[in-house]
């Protein structure tokens, strides 16, 4: 059996856009019937790169999340398509038939990931086909993962334990994008950003250097996490829930304890937390 999958490791993605450009190059003006029709020069993003900027000066954080077609096992585009215009192969690739799909705008609207695009000239919905035309011709991977310089994007067969994707997945926690859509995507992600709470500890009577090694505890939403301030006095709790209440406790022997309540309506940078000597 072949079960294709794509691993996207957000912690390795630098937003270079190699994947986006390579996808455009492969498909612009090129007809790969029966897999896909030519992509127009503009207006379609079979590979989207979401830039996510969180936090504030002086501790902003930047993440890039590449979003191709998710090639869902329970694809909504398949459910609304008529005349078998959308089908899923045994290896997992979901294809929009460029002939049968003509006129079926509802296929575009059905996708909650918004990765299907309407080609007004050809009157067909279009999307990423995982470069199935290349895979069937013997190439090992689609253009996007081929172009990725850091291994942020790994394509392969989950049923092959020796494949790079299988080996990477053995050591990584992964999730799908928006599991609540219930689409069962083939694409797996690691490192999708959530909320963070961060800050910088300063000891008021020892502020000639940064305060390393101060204990910081975060509690709330049924979790408890503990860390210590780094060499520059900074600390961070990542992967937190959205719109949630947490309590941050900063403590250090010889100093008055500080408790700060936060709500993660956005990422929280507490700035300088000054501990006074007791």
């Amino acid at each position: 059996m072949t079960r294709l999958s794509m691993l996207i490791d957000v912690t390795r993605c630098s937003g270079c856009h190699n994947c986006f450009m390579a996808c455009r190059d492969e498909h612009y003006g090129n007809d790969y019937a029966p897999y896909s029709a030519p992509q127009p020069a503009h207006g379609q993003f079979w590979m989207q790169i979401k830039e996510i900027e969180r936090g504030a000066y002086p501790r902003p954080k930047l993440d890039y999340v590449p979003i191709p077609c998710q090639h869902c096992a329970d694809a909504p585009c398949m459910q609304v398509a008529q005349d078998d215009a959308v089908y899923r192969r045994d290896d997992g690739v979901v294809i929009i038939d460029p002939v049968k799909a003509k006129g079926q705008r509802q296929i575009v609207q059905a996708c909650p990931y918004r990765v299907v695009f309407w080609n007004a000239e050809l009157e067909i919905p279009q999307k990423c086909a995982l470069c199935a035309h290349r895979l069937d011709a013997g190439d090992k991977q689609p253009r996007c993962s081929e172009a990725c310089p850091t291994g942020a994007m790994v394509f392969g067969d989950l049923d092959d334990p020796q494949s790079e994707i299988s080996r990477r997945l053995a050591a990584l926690e992964t999730e799908v994008l928006h599991p609540e859509y219930g689409c069962s995507p083939l694409v797996l992600y690691h490192g999708i950003p959530r909320r963070f709470v961060a800050g910088e500890v300063v000891l008021d009577d020892a502020d000639d250097a940064c305060a390393q090694g101060v204990k910081v505890v975060l509690e709330g939403e049924g979790v408890r996490a503990e860390t210590t301030s780094d060499v520059f006095g900074q600390f961070e709790f990542e992967g937190l829930a959205r719109n949630a209440a947490y309590r941050v406790t900063v403590s250090h022997p010889g100093y008055v304890l500080r408790r700060i309540d936060v709500k993660t309506q956005t990422d929280v940078d507490l700035g300088e937390i000054v501990l006074t000597a007791s």
Binding site: Y28, F45, E51, Y57, F232
Partner: protein, 841 residues
């Protein structure tokens, strides 16, 4: 109907080009046989690091098709409608005249006729010409080949390029540690291994290697930084902008000093080390001189100002505790200093007195034992294991140019004209001569070249009458660039030619425009990422070394011709055909000659190389690393492959390229030539910028413009002509039917000006105005506006008006003409005060 595959190469990496029915349909990273790759392995802390068997392009190269077939291609020879070489020339209309299409015959007749007229009337020195810094890939066609060969035959006035990307290292750091044969940048050997094995911390000071990419190596080193991240090496970024490499290292410390104060920060670090006794005293005593003159300055004994962290905190707006902690960590942990993409670049050196920061980078690391394990200067973008045995000519090697190489040419034209122009002051020279400067351009032959004095016009030579512009867009890359518009409109320039592939910012300033073609439309050969010349071994920025047979994939589009062909055609009309073509050589002839002259025939025969299209040269299996300056730290002879080091292999082989042979805290070379120079003093000093925080003009223009090298174009290459880049918001932002250049503004500065994210804003000062799209972000420090240099789109609201507002994003219009310092003629775009307002027009 079947597809053909060709091999070729670009500034961004090697490619495979797929052609169907005479049209390029796809361009991929070079597809090579897996069996040809033998990846090297670096072992560090029980982990084996090896690169995958592939080539990693920079993003723009994937969109090469859009550039090749761009609507911005110059299709036909063009002539300014109101230019008549036998009548009215109307130079004042350059920049706003319409153009008419002419035939090649007419174009070549006009251009050759003007060359002949000017030469006969004024002499060859009245002809000058200027290329861009970089050209399309391939050594036969590279700008230093055909252009120079042709111009030398005309006995023209060459223009000396300023060492733009690394000014402070060239004019400053050379006087600290030599390496003038590398123009002030350090040797790049085996630093990846050293970092993986030894580095505990890396300080990236004014460096965004994920964006600047070690110049021509595409995204090859991106994987290395992934390795460093996963290894948990502590990263510190010193940059007014939270740059794209910083963004990858989410646990890094970001320090954002005010622009122009980096030397102060460096002084304070030295202060901590001296007062806390945490520097390598033995190394300083044995490997350096002049510390006893430098130390009192740092301690405040000579000027009454101790360079404490508290003092620097005031200058830099960085907390004293952070400065002190950085200094302590740097001393206590094995720390690599990453001062620019090649280890010696960075925007902090392209600023007022930028020599002083660059010198301090060398001296700080010297205080920690520069060359010892984990104590190097490394950009993180070069220094992989590779092969150093096989010589293949690179574009900057004299032996790699058809204008100079006796290996391939029977006849080498020699230019007797002694007159020179200095790129930064070309408009001043034309408009308001005389001009003078110190420095023979890229001073790679000696330190003394920096002290050569030039005057234009030179005795016995003519002022320039004919200007031949060859590719490029200075409006977006030089300084104070509206003066280039004024220059073009001067009647002193009787004739202006522009030869280019695409319409760039200066193309429509010319009287005649000649359409050239890309390297995909002609034959050539080239090595991935190799410059040669004063940057030997740049292929250490690649995971694999590969020579590429750059094949002609399609016929030249429309009526374009190869540069070589254009110069051959002009030569024919000038009676110089045999001299230029060296007896009728074709481009393919030159390719074969370079192949035969190189070491490549030892490894592969021509037929195989030509058919296969590439040859990978793997690092030897018994590779022996020779880390940068390890030999110097250990008191040995230079053992790296730094062939241009003149002392290597001599009885002075354990010395550096300074007068003393050691690292000089107090520079012997500066002492000998400019002992009283207060602006580039004998030992480095922190000097407040003449256009910076609280300087003159600050009350009117309280924001500092930061204009680094761009992320999604190679200088001006690809911008404007590759429209898919406009879909990347980091590059341009589409709004109201236009693709705007972004300007990043801190939220406080935006709010004070009523500017919101996505507004069109005017960046302005006394030199001009530029419209950009505002990106309000916490990634830039307050008081600084970040907008990349290198827009290829000069788009004035009033074409032909030098003072017009530019909406294309050429922020270099705002930058000053004033140079690094009195005797160091480097550009200073990062000493630029502006203000910003919301644009409602």
């Amino acid at each position: 109907m079947t597809e053909q595959v060709f091999t070729n190469c670009t500034n961004c990496g090697p490619v495979s080009v797929y052609v169907k029915d005479g049209e390029v349909v796809r361009i991929r990273p070079l597809v090579a046989d897996e069996a040809d790759f033998r990846p090297w392995t670096i072992e560090a802390d029980g982990v084996k690091y090896s690169p995958p068997k592939k080539f990693n392009l920079a993003p723009m190269a994937h969109a090469e098709r859009r550039r090749l077939y761009s609507d911005e291609r110059i299709r036909y020879p063009m002539k300014r409608a109101d230019f008549d070489p036998n009548g009215a020339r109307n130079p004042q209309n350059r920049g706003k005249s319409p153009y008419v299409r002419i035939s090649w015959d007419e174009a070549l007749d006009v251009v050759s006729g003007e060359i002949r007229r000017v030469k006969d009337t004024y002499g060859g020195s009245a002809i000058s010409g200027l290329t861009s810094s970089h050209h399309n890939w391939g050594i036969v066609g590279y700008k230093m080949g055909p252009f120079s060969r042709f111009m030398n035959l005309l006995e023209y006035t060459p223009v000396l390029d300023n060492p733009d990307s690394w000014e402070g290292w060239h004019w400053g750091a050379t006087h600290s540690y030599g390496f003038y044969w590398r123009l002030g940048m350090p040797e790049p050997f085996d630093q990846l291994e050293d970092a993986l094995q030894n580095a505990e911390m890396i300080v990236l000071w004014s460096n965004d290697p994920d964006s600047t990419r070690g110049t021509y190596s595409g995204q090859e080193s991106a994987l290395w930084r992934t390795w460093l991240k996963e290894k948990g090496v502590q990263m510190v970024f010193i940059d007014p902008f939270h740059n794209y490499t910083n963004a990858i290292f989410d646990k890094a410390k970001w320090i954002a000093p005010r622009m122009g104060t980096d030397a102060a920060l460096a002084m304070a670090i030295a202060y901590v080390w001296i007062t806390e006794d945490t520097y390598d005293k033995k190394y300083v005593a044995e490997r350096t001189i002049g510390f006893d003159e430098f130390k009192p300055y740092v301690l405040g004994e000579t000027d009454g100002v101790p360079k404490t962290p508290e003092w620097a905190a005031e200058e830099c707006d960085v907390q004293a505790r952070v400065i002190r902690t950085l200094a302590r960590e740097w001393a206590a942990r094995r720390t690599i200093l990453s001062g620019g993409a090649r280890g010696g670049e960075g925007g902090a050196c392209r600023t007022a007195y930028g020599t002083e920061w660059a010198r301090m980078m060398v001296l700080l690391q010297a205080m920690q034992g520069l060359g010892k394990p984990g104590r190097s200067i490394w950009g993180t973008a070069m220094g992989a294991p590779t092969d150093f045995e096989t010589w293949f000519p690179a574009y900057a090697d004299p032996m790699g140019r058809i204008s100079l190489s006796k290996l391939v040419a029977d006849f080498i034209p020699v230019n007797p004209t002694k007159q020179r122009l200095w790129r930064l002051t070309v408009p001043d020279a034309i408009l308001d001569p005389p001009v003078s400067w110190y420095g023979a351009g890229f001073c790679g032959q000696s330190l003394e070249q920096q002290f050569e004095h030039f005057v234009y016009p030179a005795e016995g030579c003519s002022e320039i009458k004919l200007f031949y512009r060859y590719g490029g867009s200075f409006m977006g890359t030089m300084s104070d660039t509206s003066k280039w518009v004024r220059m073009y409109q001067s009647p002193k320039l009787e004739f202006v030619v522009n030869q280019d592939i695409w319409y760039n910012s200066e193309t429509r300033m010319a009287d005649v425009i000649l359409p050239a073609c890309t390297n995909f439309e002609r034959d050539d050969v080239g090595e991935f990422a190799a410059c040669g010349g004063y940057t030997t071994n740049s292929h250490t920025g690649n995971n694999f070394r590969v020579i590429v047979r750059e094949k002609k994939c399609i016929e030249p589009l429309w009526e374009s011709r190869s540069d070589y062909q254009i110069f051959a055609d002009l030569s024919e009309r000038l009676g110089l055909y045999d001299e230029f073509t060296d007896g009728g050589k074709t481009e393919l002839d030159w390719v074969k000659l370079f192949f035969e002259a190189s070491d490549l025939p030892k490894l592969v025969d021509w037929e195989t190389f030509d058919r296969k299209g590439y040859h990978i040269i793997n690092a030897p299996e018994d590779y022996k690393p020779t880390p940068m300056m390890r030999w110097f730290a250990e008191g040995r002879e230079c053992d790296t492959p730094d062939l241009m080091n003149p002392k290597r292999g001599t009885d002075k082989a354990h010395e550096l390229g300074t007068y003393s042979g050691k690292i000089e805290f107090s520079s012997e070379s500066l002492k000998a030539h400019f002992p009283d120079d207060e602006e580039r003093p004998v030992h480095p000093k922190y000097i407040r910028s003449w256009e910076g925080y609280l300087s003159e003009g600050y009350d009117r223009y309280p924001l500092q413009l930061l204009s680094p090298h761009p992320r999604f174009s190679f200088h001006c290459h690809y911008d404007k002509h590759t429209d898919w880049l406009d879909d990347i918001p980091v590059h341009r932002i589409k709004k109201d039917g236009y693709a705007w250049w972004p300007a990043r503004i801190h939220p406080d500065d935006a709010e004070a000006r009523g500017v919101r994210n996505g507004d069109i804003v005017r960046l302005y000062n006394d030199r001009g105005s530029v419209l950009c799209c505002a990106v309000v972000t916490g990634r830039v420090r307050p008081g600084v506006v970040h907008s990349y240099a290198s827009s290829a789109n000069y788009d004035p609201l009033l074409p032909g008006n030098a003072g017009a507002i530019d909406k294309g994003g050429c922020v270099n219009i705002l930058t000053p003409s004033r140079m690094l310092s009195r005797n160091a003629p480097g550009m200073t775009p990062n000493s630029c005060l502006i203000d910003v307002e919301k644009w409602e027009g």
